[in-house]
Point group: C3
Chain length 313, copies 3
């Protein structure tokens, strides 16, 4: 879609003939992407973006780098939401190639595999499994009954997806109008699971708004866990039941998270951190190897001290 | 069913020939309904009920208004539970009309649509979707794989139901015998979703015991959320991941609820309230536009003060 | 499998010709089982085990009783994980008998019933239901759409399984290598639900590592609850929405657990205990009939006192 046509759809004035192929964050945007600036936290990324154009409030338009077009608007995030719909893939492809299924892969009755999808060798797809269009799955994966992989997602080898788990559902993203309505930001990214990953029953892993939600090899996730859009989980993370991780948070390798804990969005947590059960982590953790507890979470030894003081009141 | 026959089934003595068509709350009961009084909080509603008859403990039978029959019993709630089974609809209708499917609505393989059900135009029902009997769905709805709509529910236009979400499952209601057994209160109501609603992956919205669980237009709900029976959510509410709302709670418009929070049952929360993540709201909120946090939840500024004091101990 | 062959696969030296038929805990192991000792809490059980052989660290090998072989290793739990794979049943049986379906049991389209499975009379299996191989289900059970029963599980009579619930998914068990990898402990047990049990929508009940996760008659579980592997729930327990119970915990009869609470693993909770909503129980409860609240949970009256003191700071 030409930028001038997209701008017109957004009620903005821009005559550029550049072909826009998608939306992306300031940091990851390529020369044919439209990006946006909304959160001051990302000002430095604005200054260095390689996007074709940026939706930006007038106040910050002077920070848009040379060679990048500034699309000035009072509500850049709302305009982004409206733009996102133009780049949303179809729910179901009308056309496409029949799926390629590897050797010794078993597909049980009532399972569905979408168009242009490739599944490796020695996999098992049990009844009621749904694999969307344009998915890639490696070898030796087990998909338990009624688990769902949305379109465009990628699984490596030896992944185990327990029953009812959902990989690639829409991230929860909305822009808000002055009248209080919520405008969906279409989630045009995907989920990538590397190798040797286990996903628990009825756990949900949301697809990215742009780019990928990424779970690296060896990570194990228990039941009823929520992984928000654009999270990155490094290798060998352990996440136990009913944990929730909000969007765009990055977890280092070998982190262990106890049951029913929550981690806020846009945080970075250092490798080898342990989060005790029922904790709520609200800040990034930069030093590795420590144990956090409580809500708001602090170092576990401090939390224990506080509990002792409270009990002495 | 004649009231005299129903009474006989409950071990009660009543000779009334009135035809009872269903059960309902004191407030909503119509002239052919049986109601019950159990919680003193609703004494005023007892005094003004328009039910045909009320199951009531002897102590309160004098408050039953003229023209309404008092069915006196020591365990009115238990009798209600027993009565509820007589009004439960069939799990599956044996007979009924073939579903009516609108123009350009796509139904993928392995989806099921029940009897007497109507689906509008331009909808997509992906594989494994279940739509029960006597359901009504508007135009332009998207049902992702393996999502489930139980019988008798109603969806408006432009609703998005992510994978594995369940709309209309039984509310959690039981009466208890002296011996400690739990007798199911059949959940004979439904769920109504108005327009432009999104329901997250593996989220559950329970059907009402009587009447409807109601979610109004523009409300957006994230993954793994639980909405209890008989809740009413006004327009444009935002509920993020893993929140739980217990039964019969009413939320005003444009409320925002952070992740993993809980709201107790039978509360009323004023419009434009914000509930911070991991809060537990135990009391109604009457003033709109405030932010609550912590557990038990209080005004966020007070909660922050308390946290500061605790850290200074 | 002969013990000498199993030992060879684990890199251990043992020439015993005993036929090992499975793995089990020290307490429950029979004369053809291999067991393991990892947690000092179970030293007494080590001394009295009836296993054929025990994987044990050298430090504790002297406690292995006479007539039981000690398989000495620095990482007994890791060796157990490796051994578990040899006893894992197939995901799907290649051969077996057609399922036996009782009188007046209705099976809707797109439901799947596995080999060697028996289903009693007057049951309803709605669309998308999956019943694995070698399952036994009694009479008058209702399986709502897309609910899943993994292989080898047992349900009694009059159970209600709401939509999307998963019974028998793998428990979350891993041994850890020095390099930080997680090795799956195959979950070779099952789940047993006795009679008159209700399981809420999208709730998950994990199968045991060895033996059974057991839920006794009359227990009622709400939506989005997680029951860990090897838990035992006695009769008439009430568990409301989004509760999580970690593995190997035992609950006495008629316990009531409020919404969003959590119970740590390996605890015993006395009958008639009440756990208030959003509590986190971290210790066993030996006296019955008390109410606990808060996190870490203590007697509710003490928790209320503490809250009062904090508010007076």
């Amino acid at each position: 879609m030409k930028l001038k046509d997209l701008a017109k759809n957004l009620g903005l004035d821009c005559q550029s003939e550049i072909e826009i192929t998608g939306l992306n964050t300031l940091k990851d945007a390529k020369k044919n992407n439209l990006s946006f600036f909304e959160n001051k936290k990302y000002l430095d990324e604005l200054k260095h973006t390689k996007a074709a154009a940026v939706l930006v409030h007038e106040e910050f338009s002077s920070f848009v780098p040379k060679g990048v077009l500034a699309l000035v608007d009072n509500e850049p995030y709302l305009k982004l939401a409206i733009a996102s719909k133009f780049f949303a893939p179809k729910h179901i492809e009308d056309e496409g190639e029949e799926p390629q299924i590897g050797d010794k892969t078993k597909i049980m009755p009532n399972a569905y595999v979408g168009k242009n999808t490739k599944i490796g060798n020695n996999c098992i797809l049990m009844s009621g499994v749904f694999i969307g269009d344009n998915v890639s799955i490696g070898d030796s994966c087990v998909m338990y009954p009624n688990s769902v992989i949305y379109r465009d997602c990628v699984l490596g080898n030896s992944c185990i997806i327990q029953a009812g788990a959902v990989i690639g559902s829409d991230g929860f993203g909305f822009a808000h109008t002055k009248e209080g309505k919520h405008i969906k930001i279409y989630q045009n990214g995907n989920v990538i699971l590397e190798n040797d990953i286990e996903i628990g029953a009825n756990t949900t892993v949301d697809r990215a708004a742009f780019g990928s939600t990424l779970i690296k090899s060896g990570t194990k996730i228990d039941n009823l866990v929520q992984i928000g859009h654009n999270c990155v989980l490094d290798e060998n993370v352990i996440i136990t039941g009913q944990v929730g991780i909000a969007g765009s948070t990055t977890l280092g390798r070998n982190i262990v998270i106890g049951g029913q804990s929550g981690i806020a969005g846009h945080l970075k947590v250092a490798a080898f951190t342990t989060i005790a059960a029922r904790s709520g982590l609200t800040k990034s953790v930069t030093k590795s190897g420590q144990t956090y507890a409580g809500f708001p979470a602090r170092l576990r030894k401090e939390w224990l001290k506080t509990l002792a003081k409270i009990s002495r009141l």
